[in-house]
């Protein structure tokens, strides 16, 4: 490790505690919350804060399935293309709402996960995600009087300029649209072909209005009137401007958590974590004495470092994620237990303190490595196959275990080696071993074990 080791460990500790302090802003270099770095094309712009999942801060989550079976025949887009398109449309819709930190990601190639933190209104979330906003102008069907048919090709809302709401007679909200990109010519032509006849304006297959054409149009402009309120008109205008979803979506999973419940969960988790930490610390000191104290220092180091990492990466903490973190506190001392048990065995076998510490480290290492690998592998499988909750648990558990490996192998050992250099800390009873090794007559562990 060399002489730099202890300093490096100490610097990491200070940085970790600094990152852990809530509600402060580090400006690095200047004028930005958190860490901001710009070196050529490399740019870091990271606000430092604890990211809470929906179950801890409240909000709405939806999993949407693309109803590809409802697409008209002859659709040439692949599911993943449709998924990308649908996600872009939903993203535009969310952006115009101003939700902070929304999550939008593909699940498989036929599903989309949407998380809207702070959105408490399931109806609104459902509208954003599933209103297709597919506008089509239909014309009277000559073969079936009173019915309407699509033009060939259909005249849809695909080529519209941004729509806006105005008020007719100062009170009646209407949506103004304008065709562009060639569709404006078709719109003009339509007014000639169907002069004095009604045309049908449909949204998602339903009629909104069926005005009669009373004049020949000169450009692509038109209005939609349909008994709107000011709110519903502006919502529809917004949806039309974000574009139509390329495929109908259905909600296959939804969950909505109110912020008050989230706060309650955060408080309960904090209490549980603190009590768990305290119980483990108490036990370790009572059972292992001086090495126990060292283990507790290492455990605090571990907790500070892991939490700092969660804030920096950042890892979104869910209720299950917090459970994984608390569980990892219990597992983190595991490596210390293995080391200290070895240390005791070596001391009882009559080795000097210094030799025993070194032998304990070397002989406990393979067990520590394997057991940590096994846990990380579990987390990997859970992350791979799991959904939402399970993924959160797996991620925090894996990070926790990796950090505990670091603290057990590096920090505990450094502290232990440091402690035995201090004369007053060199008494054997501080390590839970009788002052003089008592021969019990049992076969020596060290002698009986093969490697």
């Amino acid at each position: 490790m060399g002489a730099f080791g202890p300093w490096l460990i100490a610097i990491i500790a200070v940085l970790a505690v600094f990152v852990d302090i809530p509600k402060h802003q580090i400006s690095f270099p200047f004028n930005c919350p958190g860490i901001c770095l710009k070196v050529g094309d490399f740019q870091v712009n990271q606000e430092i804060k604890t990211h809470l999942g929906l179950d801890l801060q409240g909000g709405t989550q939806l999993i949407l399935r693309m109803q590809t079976e409802k697409l008209p025949a002859g659709n040439t887009q692949t599911p993943s293309q449709l998924q990308q398109l649908a996600m872009k449309v939903i993203e535009r819709r969310i952006n115009s709402l101003g939700v902070s930190e929304p999550v939008l990601q593909g699940v498989g190639d036929d599903k989309i996960l949407l998380e809207l933190p702070g959105v408490d209104d399931l109806a609104q979330a459902n509208d954003i995600a599933t209103r297709q906003a597919f506008l089509e102008i239909k014309v009277p069907d000559a073969d079936h009087p009173g019915q309407y048919k699509s033009l060939q090709p259909p005249l849809t809302g695909a080529n519209l300029k941004p729509t806006f709401v105005t008020f007719q007679n100062g009170t009646k909200p209407v949506i103004n649209f304008e065709f562009t990109n060639g569709d404006d010519q078709r719109w003009v032509q339509l007014s000639k072909d169907f002069y004095q006849k009604p045309v049908q304006i449909t949204l998602d297959g339903k009629e909104i209005s069926a005005p009669t054409i009373n004049a020949i149009f000169t450009d692509g402009r038109g209005i939609i009137e349909g008994g709107f309120t000011a709110k519903s008109a502006s919502e529809l205008s917004l949806l039309l401007n974000s574009g139509a979803l390329p495929v109908p979506l259905e909600v296959i999973q939804s969950s909505r958590v109110e912020p008050t419940l989230g706060q309650e969960s955060v408080q309960r988790s904090l209490v549980a974590g603190a009590i768990g930490l305290f119980l483990v610390a108490f036990f370790m000191i009572a059972y292992y004495r001086l090495p126990g104290v060292i283990a507790v220092i290492a455990l605090l180091y571990y907790t500070a470092l892991t939490y700092a990492l969660f804030r920096l990466v950042p890892v979104t903490l869910t209720l299950a994620g917090v459970a994984g973190f608390i569980l990892s506190i219990g597992m983190a001392v595991d490596a210390n237990v293995l080391t200290f048990e070895r240390l005791k065995e070596e001391l009882r076998a009559g080795k000097s303190l210094r030799n025993a510490v070194e032998a304990g480290r070397v002989r406990a290492f393979p067990s520590i490595l394997y057991s940590n690998l096994a846990t990380i592998m579990t987390a990997g499988i859970l992350f791979w196959f799991g959904t939402g909750t399970v993924k959160g648990f797996a991620l925090t558990l894996a990070i926790g275990v990796a950090m505990s490996f670091f603290t057990a192998v590096v920090v505990t050992q450094m502290l232990l080696h440091g402690a035995i250099e201090i004369a007053s800390l060199r008494q054997r009873r501080l390590y839970g071993v009788e002052e003089r090794a008592v021969d019990t007559g049992a076969p020596r562990s060290t002698a009986a074990v093969s490697p």
């Binding site: 109110e258 009590i275 459970a323 237990v337 048990e341 394997y370 797996a394």
Partner: protein, 294 residues
Amino acid sequence: MIGVVERKWWYFLLSGLLIVPGVIFLALGGLKPGIEFRGGTLLELRFGQPPAVSDVRDAMAALDRPEAVVQVAEGGRIEVRTFEMKPDDIVKAEKTLKDRYGANLIDLSSSVVSPSFSGELIQNAVRSIALASVLIVLLIAFAFRNFGWAAFRYGIAAIIALLHDAAVVLGIFAILGFFLGVEVDSLFVTAVLTIVVFDRIRENLRLNPGEALNPVINFSIMQTLARSVITSLTVVLTLLALLLFGGFSMRNFALALVIGIVSGTYSSIFNASQIVSLWQELEDKIRHRATAVA
């Protein structure tokens, strides 16, 4: 030193007493799948002063959901379970309940899983269990690769102990499901995988294989006993904190983990090694008989 090996039949009996009732309730269909695995709606209502269950049931019946199952849960909460509700229905139900209970209803959370999606979630759970099972066999084989026939014996014992733990956890949850309506969800599967399957690997990789195969098994057990018990104890301490003080929805998860760890520690000390020693005894007997006949 306790004669652990001499008393092996007692330990097998205790395991049997734990497992048999569980298996009976498993057979009776006690293990209740949660909405994640069967599809449906869960409404969680938190009250200042919880109303009577029948009152909430009436409210649901008025919403055309007479089939809704209403249960009291800890922390002034009432849980309502019913079939899948579409977002519009949920919005309507939430509004009706909020109007009915006013400020007494502190908060109301809802989750809905469509039955079509729950099939996929079950598939994922089954896949991860299958993959984990294959991995554990490979890992145990790897850990004991240098010990030949004896290692095979130890590997089988480890897998029997694993089945023992799985039976204990599943059995207890079947009993809880039968009497208290406790449901299992993907977090339960996670608990089983984390503890029952992988803690077993941890345990086995941690035991130095050389020690595990020590001919003087009793001594080897005592030597590893301290390590096994203490490492399990620290984890159980944190889990107890989670169980008693943590978020309500984590209760069953923490409980499954605690049962798994305690059972795992018990079975690795009192069962797995016993099986190895029993095997050895049987082998000796057969060999003895063979020589006697010859």
